[in-house]
């Protein structure tokens, strides 16, 4: 691990009990959901990690604890390094406080995580669907949501599939 990471990593490990993981020269810190906002604020104010690159999520269904991991990539323009924060969440509709107060561009990223995974962000100004239509049911990128695959139409099942395909009037 590069020594420019050292102050930030040791402070977070000491204050919030963050677990450190290193893989292929990337530093990942696992924090608990209660310390999520404090860890991000500390990184931004004290250690100069001033830009959020993105927020995304991973679904580990059928494992339920934890079911989701939220991942935030935070970049520092002064030392040119990225720290990755991971937060484990349990259950089928977890909630997490919003990062919008710390980094304003978390707005759309969190809307996308809500749309695709169903994780609510408390305190978000505008939590509605961003990529799917407003009246869509379900959260598509969860592992228990089907892909929506349509069977390929060969000659042996041509008529069966033609019956199911919607056709326009006129």
């Amino acid at each position: 691990m590069h020594e420019s990471y050292q102050p930030a990593v040791s402070a977070l490990q000491r204050r919030f009990g963050a677990e450190l993981r290193e893989f292929r020269d990337e530093i990942t810190l696992l924090v608990e959901p209660d310390h999520w906002i404090d860890a991000a604020t500390a990184l931004r104010d004290e250690f100069g990690f001033n830009s959020l690159e993105g927020i995304t999520a991973v679904d580990y269904w059928p494992q339920q604890t934890p079911r989701f991991h939220i991942i935030a990539h935070i970049y520092s323009f002064s030392i040119h390094k990225t720290i990755i924060l991971r937060v484990p969440l349990n259950g089928n509709s977890p909630t997490l406080p919003t990062l919008e107060t710390v980094f304003p561009n978390a707005n759309w990223h969190e809307r996308e995580v809500w749309d695709m995974f169903g994780i609510r962000f408390e305190g978000h100004g505008d939590l509605r669907r961003i990529l799917m239509p407003q009246d869509w049911q379900g959260h598509p990128q969860r592992k228990d949501y089907p892909l929506g695959y349509e069977e390929v139409q060969f000659t042996f099942n041509f008529d069966k599939i033609s019956l199911k395909k919607p056709a326009p009037r006129e």
Partner: protein, 409 residues
């Protein structure tokens, strides 16, 4: 507001001011099908006369579900879908995905493959900027620039077709190297192209840079400061046009960019004109990089030798039993990378493009996420458009340079 008007807003009432609710200011829908929104972007504008008070982008009309679809395919087959994300930067998308896979599997890439990847990526950058120039000048009513820019772009498409057989969605860059080596006419064709391009760029500049109409429509419009850029996570020519010379090719060099000598064009205006100048200068710098890469291109293999991940060349299959078995296993089952997650970044013509890849040891990616520059950069639209006319809005959208395939994935 009447019942009908509230229905059209579709849940966005909380984003508009009290004046809009009373009917003092007009709420106008600049719908998904519009000649100058560069794709299917819907903007809901709140107008006071002709001046924009607020602008709410509504995206998702091109959502393709690429990330979920890639989870069902093996690593090699999933690469086909990465081309179609940001369709102006197809080589760049392949490159970032392959860099993520190579970082995960710890694959080496031979120097000849790195050099050719750099040449193709820079040609793709020139092609993307040419189309940007053509369409955004078309929006500002300079119509002949579009035809000239497409003429150059056809030459780049011909180079891609020479190399891979396809004009746009090449899938030429594969994990571990390239699909196959370039044909013998490649070097001569590329050198011929970069010989004529600088004069053509001078032609475009002579049409636009000192044109009083263009200057009127671009100076002072759509300003953003460096602090706002950092707060909103904006990268690419928008950040460089505001004053910070940050380019991932210099700060975190990849694919051997550290051996090439090039500058990072930076302007301080922060408005549309500054971004225009940055992109035109970037085209010239890309020409320099291509020339140096062609001069330094070594001879050698174009694919890694690690047969656990990279299929052997066809000529070996006839003679070696192991090559046949590796070929069979790799194309039927796929390779099994180690468990873990990686994040690889490149500099696309729009900004920082990143690929987050998490694997659980199976031949199919467990989670792929693309951090795309257009999604991040489009968030500053309300900030940039406040207080300007509707006619300026068109120029502002063009100058951020968004591609909707990138935004919606």
């Amino acid at each position: 507001m009447t019942e009908q008007q509230l229905f059209e807003m579709g849940g966005m009432e909380h984003l508009f001011s009290e004046r809009a609710m009373r009917g003092e200011t007009m709420v106008l829908n600049m719908g998904p099908q519009h000649p100058s929104t560069h794709g299917v972007l819907r903007l809901v504008l709140e107008l006071d006369g002709e001046i924009v008070q607020n602008c709410v982008p509504d995206i998702g009309f091109l959502h393709t579900g690429v990330e979920k679809n890639m989870e069902g395919k093996t690593y090699q087959k999933a690469e086909v879908m990465t081309d179609r994300l940001d369709y102006m930067n197809t080589i760049g998308n392949n490159l970032v995905y392959c860099m993520a896979v190579e970082k995960l599997c710890d694959l080496d890439v031979p120097p000849r493959a790195q050099g050719i990847r750099v040449i193709l990526a820079e040609l793709q950058r020139i092609a993307s900027h040419l189309l940007w120039l053509g369409t955004s000048a078309l929006d500002l009513a300079a119509m002949s620039v579009f035809l000239y820019a497409m003429r150059e772009r056809e030459m780049i498409m011909d180079i891609f077709e020479l190399v891979s057989g396809q004009r746009m969605m090449t899938t030429y860059i594969r994990p571990g190297g390239l699909w196959r080596d370039v044909p013998v006419e490649f070097e001569q064709t590329v050198r011929e192209f970069i010989r004529i391009l600088p004069k053509r760029i001078d032609e475009y500049e002579s049409l636009l840079t000192k044109n009083p109409l263009f200057i009127e429509r671009t100076i002072g419009i759509g300003k953003i400061s460096v602090e706002d850029c950092i707060r909103w996570g904006v990268t690419g020519p928008v950040l460089r046009g505001s004053g910070m010379g940050f380019d991932l090719r210099k700060v975190h060099p990849y694919m051997g960019y550290e051996q090439y000598d090039f500058n990072i064009p930076t302007e301080t205006g922060g408005d549309i004109n500054a971004r225009y100048k940055v992109r035109v200068q970037e085209m010239r710098e890309s020409i320099r990089i291509v020339e140096q890469a062609l001069d330094k291109l070594p001879l050698g293999p174009v694919r890694s030798n690690n047969r656990k991940y990279v299929p052997p060349p066809r000529s070996e299959i006839g003679t070696s039993m192991e090559a046949l078995i590796h070929h069979f296993k790799l194309w039927t089952e796929g390779f099994t990378p180690p468990v873990g997650s990686v994040y690889a970044v490149t500099e696309s013509p729009r900004g920082e493009l990143g690929c987050f890849l998490e694997s659980d040891g199976s031949p199919k990616p467990y989670r792929v996420h693309f951090k795309t520059p257009s999604f991040t950069n489009l968030q500053i639209m309300p900030l940039l458009s406040k207080g300007h006319f509707v006619a300026d809005l068109v120029g502002i959208i063009g100058s951020i340079d968004i591609v909707l395939g990138d935004t919606d994935r």
